[in-house]
């Protein structure tokens, strides 16, 4: 497929939650709309009609899909329905479980003529929080002390071994800073009910929170990397402000890790640089673009657009490092329409056209 084709492709993007803890879908769509080279269509995929990103004007159409928890079969069947209706060329999953489903179902997606830029499902599994403590040191990262919690009994062991405060994390998402014994048990019940077991109990490292968004081509060559320092976090620990950094050492560490993982496509590495020792602690590797990816686009490093071009088979030269000192703050846009838009998406067809 040539460059003309990439201009006119139809791209499906997932992850349309857009409240105070947004998924990356809207930021990915904004990045694609921001490039003058893109003249195609954007199709939003959401498993919840209440997610407000579904009603933003960035998408030409929105379809309801089953939640990833419904399994690969149901998810891919729904994708097939959308692919037929919308003639989807490229799919960008922006939620961790969806990335895994799409990586595992890449042959089915290929038969549907949907192109992706994803690592293998094996690579995605190897970067899971539970396996990271083994993998990360091999790439030169430090790792916060992490204990696997599979039951109340193992939570008790963690409580004896870790000092307060520490983090209790779901294996897919969600984390709570635990400051008391009572809270530990309450959060254990809540997190295990929501995300299943095991959970992770992780030492809290005090230091600079840095994230890096990266993109690798099918040969494992880095196409772009944007490091960012969080300047402000919400009560849930999500960044609402951040600034681009000049951090070649961090990018080099990311390259070593992602090479070990045989990574293809987008990822976000979350690290904390220990204020005392200077050690770079790897906390998470997310198999997708981060919610703050529009900062990369604003810093002239449009990683989502590069991913689309790579997905359709174009060669993309390595993007220059972004300038340091580009800052973002999280604000809101309000989008208005008839309530019919909600009933259309929540109704039997599960489809909404927004830019007809």
């Amino acid at each position: 497929m040539g460059s003309r084709s990439s201009r006119n492709v139809t791209i499906a993007v997932t992850g349309l939650a857009a409240d105070g803890n947004p998924a990356p879908g809207v930021a990915v769509a904004r990045s694609l709309r921001a490039t003058r080279d893109f003249r195609g269509r954007l199709v939003g995929l959401t498993f919840d009609h209440r997610f407000t990103g579904a009603y933003s004007s960035y998408f030409d159409a929105v379809h309801l899909t089953p939640p990833p928890a419904s399994g690969e079969g149901a998810y891919l069947t729904a994708l097939q329905r959308v692919a037929r209706a919308e003639k989807v060329d490229v799919l960008i999953p922006t939620l961790d479980p969806e990335a895994l489903l799409c990586a595992a179902g890449h042959r089915s997606l290929s038969r549907m003529r949907i192109r992706t830029l994803l690592p293998s499902d094996g690579s995605i599994r190897r970067r899971a929080k539970i396996t990271l403590p083994t993998l990360a040191p091999k790439a030169g990262f430090a790792v916060p002390r992490t204990l696997v919690v599979t039951s109340r009994a193992t939570l008790d062991i963690a409580l004896r071994q870790l000092a307060f405060p520490f983090y209790l994390k779901g294996s897919f998402a969600d984390a709570k800073l635990i400051v008391t014994l009572d809270q530990a048990y309450i959060e254990f019940d809540r997190l295990s009910a929501r995300w299943g077991l095991p959970l992770l109990a992780q030492e809290r490292i005090v230091g600079d929170e840095l994230n890096v968004a990266v993109l690798y081509d099918r040969d494992g060559r880095r196409v772009g990397a944007v490091p960012m320092r969080k300047l402000g976090v919400t009560s849930q620990g999500k960044g609402w402000a951040g600034v681009t950094l000049d951090a070649p050492e961090l990018i080099a560490l990311a390259d070593r890790l992602m090479r070990a993982l045989e990574w293809v496509g987008a990822a976000e590495l979350e690290v904390i640089v220990d204020r005392t020792s200077g050690a770079v602690n790897l906390v998470e590797v997310n198999p997708r673009f981060p919610a703050w990816i529009y900062l990369a686009t604003a810093a002239d490093t449009n990683l989502p657009w590069a991913a689309v071009r790579l997905a359709v088979g174009e060669r993309v030269a390595a993007l220059p490092p972004p300038p340091a000192g580009v800052l973002f703050t999280r604000t809101v846009e309000d989008h208005f329409g008839s309530f019919d838009r909600v009933t259309a998406l929540a109704g039997p067809s599960g489809t909404k056209e927004s830019r007809a």
């Binding site: 105070g20 300047l231 580009v326 846009e333």
Partner: protein, 363 residues
Amino acid sequence: MKPHVTVALTSVHGGDAPSAGLVAAQMLRRQQALDVRLVVLATDAFADGIQGVHVADRVVVVPPLARDPEAFVARIRDLTRQERRLVLVPGSPGDTIALASWEPALRGAGARAILPRAVRLRELPFPSTGRGVWAPRHLVVAGSNRLQALRRVWRYPVGVRWADGEQAWAYNPTDLHAILAAGPAGAVAGVYEAVPGIEISVATLARDAAPASLVIARPLHVSENGVVWSAVTMANPRLVADARRAMAALRWRGPAEARFTLDDGGRLWFTGLTPGFPSWVSLTAAAGQDLVLQYVHLALGARPGRLSTFADEVFQARVSVDHPTTIDVLRQLVTEGETSHAARSRDHLRTAAPDHAHAPLHQ
């Protein structure tokens, strides 16, 4: 030529709890009726100053009103010397309460504002309504008396509404104890019996006692921290008439959000009032009643017109987006206490969404 006015807004911030101040600034940026110069009054360069940069012509770091009111008023006096016809818009319930207490001084400093009468602030969050307004059984508890509510509650669940608008539900005495104990020191809470039905929110504006404007919405998607991310207007005539009657009975001056429960029989139950615009105030403009613009007009001395209608079933979806700026702007705010866009084009101040995203539906 459009009339010129400078509008100064407080509490302009986004993150996971976007303020009415931020949304009001965006509305004033989009409106076409007035030539508005927007000044964001920030209490801290980083905490809120940097968040005002993308909507404001000028961001000024000012002393916090709650901690240093005299210095705040003095700064407003300085501003009114530089910025003629300055209208002050409170961007949060807390700011509305704080500004109302200092209204005479602010007026003396040359700022124009429409604020609640200070003597009525102590009635919050359940101002006296007079006859004809249904309210569930409730009690207002303050400071050290708060936990006495535990002995006086009739039946659970009960709603707890703080004077600044925060709300929580208690399903048993343990919940209620935890909610009341966790409240800010000295804050007043209203505890009310739950009424089965639909929760609705009424955005209202009054220059005097009677509302000059009013829009009713049903919050749809509310996040765990109580922030409304989507809502839809409700304009059936009986509901509107009942809400108008209730607001007239409240005789509350200034912008406010009144909360009601609409029960199965169609009766409105008043469940508390929060001073200031609600954060969903942009929906009022989309439905044909721009309450923020009307506030500016009224503050400038316009006479309130007859209450107008608003469009029914207008849906609002709020989307978190990141706005870029540079570290140099933050540096300027920190070192100089203000930053201005005067030398630049105004184009960059537009929000990133295409125009049609903001087009009012009634047009």
